[in-house]
Amino acid sequence: MNITPKKAIGKTLSYLILGFFAVITLFPFYWMTITALQDSNAAITWPPQLWPKSLHWENFSRLLDAAPFGRYFTNSVIVVIMDLSVSMVVMSLAAFGFAHYKFKGKETIFMLFLATMMIPSEALIITNFRTVAKLGWFDTYHVLFLPYVASVFYIYLLRQAFESVPKQLYLAAKIDGCTDFQYFLKILVPIARPMMITIAILKTIASWNSFMWPLLVTNTNRMRVISYGLVAFQSEAGNDFPLMMAASIFTVAPMVVLYLIARKKIIDGIARGGIKG
């Protein structure tokens, strides 16, 4: 291997450009973090300081005194858990129904399902807003996730996962006296577990970060999820940037942790959806 100077320069340049964009990507998160620890007055002085003169950890306790972020956080956690437990059941049952049984018009119905992926959810929100108002569902936990539990794309992925299991397994299970439901629960679900975990993680991220729907269907402080709580807090806190950033960290941190733990699953899941369309 002989490395020519030209090649070495090219390599260095590549790393420099990649490093530059890495800094651009990470900088807002750095800024969020150090501002959260900044003195409230220092945050509104010119010029801004790249590193705080002293670290103010008490900003976090000040934040919890100023607004019920503990409550918002808990609400978000509850909604994610409820969302996952309902949607994983609804979606995997539907996927099994499509994967396992043969009936007239099945593929037509499935295509109709898939076609709904093209509909922007904003077009549906108007009627859904009225529907949940009529049902008296405002300010409940279930209103926050129920309209979105049957995600068609994930049903499609699960159907594929179930269909890739050889039919012999079903016949063997039948001989052992399994019902169809037992076959689904005890054989198919464990086999499709990696796919189900990926879907559950992606659904968690979407659920945690959802914003417009919670904004429309919750009014009381008590029922706010964290993204809405954050926006509501902005109008109260105004220019207290350290508190705003501390609140932002509460919102961002759980997903960053999840991302660092399940990075490969998340990236593979998105890339798969991306390539398949």
């Binding site: 990507t25 499509f98 997903m255």
Partner: protein, 291 residues
């Protein structure tokens, strides 16, 4: 036999059917009907084309469409151009590739609202870092990015590009890494340089993936809302940062005019259907394997 199977399948399908019926198919049909209602709420119906006439005469809506078009056709090409460069550099290195990939994808998983607030602080006219940097580099006076009709949309676009890089870089890098290395070996034998290889081999083979991220990018850009709401605020209209979904939201939330909101959403839906059809056509046209 077949009759029996649908009976067996139904219990499994029913929960998803009900949810989709109530929260997808019914509201879809209803949006069309409501959009033809001359009266603002579904309490009474008087079907006519009036809503669309009003909508297309509404300066706010026309402005929202214009902003959405500018946002889409500025952010998407710029984001894809940057992403292509990053993806090409990422595939050319081995060491630290996973590290860089991890970093670039981070904005995708983090709340748009929370990150928008940080950008709002960075963009702040009086205390923001961006004005400090611009002042040092170019001697520019402080720019009121967020609270000025002249700059608000630019700020949203910069934030939008930053946020959309994550997805584009991931998909383009995955696409580039799946190109058969044989092509590159052959090119090297022929003495092609890096630029020639990129434009003559990588780009043509990647065309279906590029057209895919382009379409997804446009669809998402046409739906831009959270970025505007969190960065500019609920009065984005005043700062000329109104977008189509923002208009729908305002009609629904502030004015309670379900008919205008529905008509605007039908127009958005039609645009997205056209874009999806266009992407189908484009990916068929650019797919080397298919021809």
């Amino acid at each position: 036999m077949k009759q029996q199977e649908i009976r067996k399948a139904l219990p499994y399908l029913l929960p998803a059917f009900i949810i989709l019926l109530v929260f997808t198919f019914y509201p879809l049909a209803n949006a069309f009907i409501q959009s033809f209602n001359r009266l603002p709420t579904p309490d009474k119906y008087d079907l006519s084309l009036k809503t669309y006439q009003w909508l297309l005469k509404d300066v706010t809506f026309i402005n929202a469409i214009r902003n959405t078009l500018v946002y889409s056709f500025v952010t998407v090409p710029i984001s894809i151009a940057i992403s292509l460069m990053i993806a090409a550099l990422l595939t050319s290195i081995q060491r630290l590739r996973v590290f860089f990939q991890t970093v670039y994808f981070l904005p995708y998983v983090t709340s748009a609202v929370a990150v928008a607030f940080t950008w709002g602080y960075l963009f702040n006219a009086d205390y923001g870092l961006i004005n400090l940097i611009l002042g040092h580099l170019f001697g520019l006076a402080k720019i009121p990015w967020i609270k000025d009709p002249q700059y608000a949309m630019t700020a949203v676009m910069i934030f939008g590009i930053w946020r959309s890089l994550a997805f584009n870089v991931l998909i383009l890098t995955t696409g580039m890494l799946s190109i058969d290395p044989q092509y590159y070996k052959a090119a090297r034998v022929d003495g092609a340089n890096n630029a020639t290889t990129f434009f003559k081999i990588t780009l043509p083979l990647l065309a279906p993936v590029v057209s895919y991220v382009f379409t997804i990018g446009l669809i998402n850009a046409f739906r831009v809302f959270t970025e505007v709401y969190a960065l500019i605020g609920s009065y984005a209209r005043i700062y000329n940062a109104n977008t189509m979904v923002f208009y729908i939201f305002d009609q629904l939330w502030v004015y309670k005019d379900y008919s205008l909101a529905s008509a605007a959403s039908v127009i958005l839906l039609l645009i997205i259907l056209v874009l999806t059809g266009f992407s189908r056509w484009l990916s068929r046209k650019t797919d080397y394997n298919a021809s």
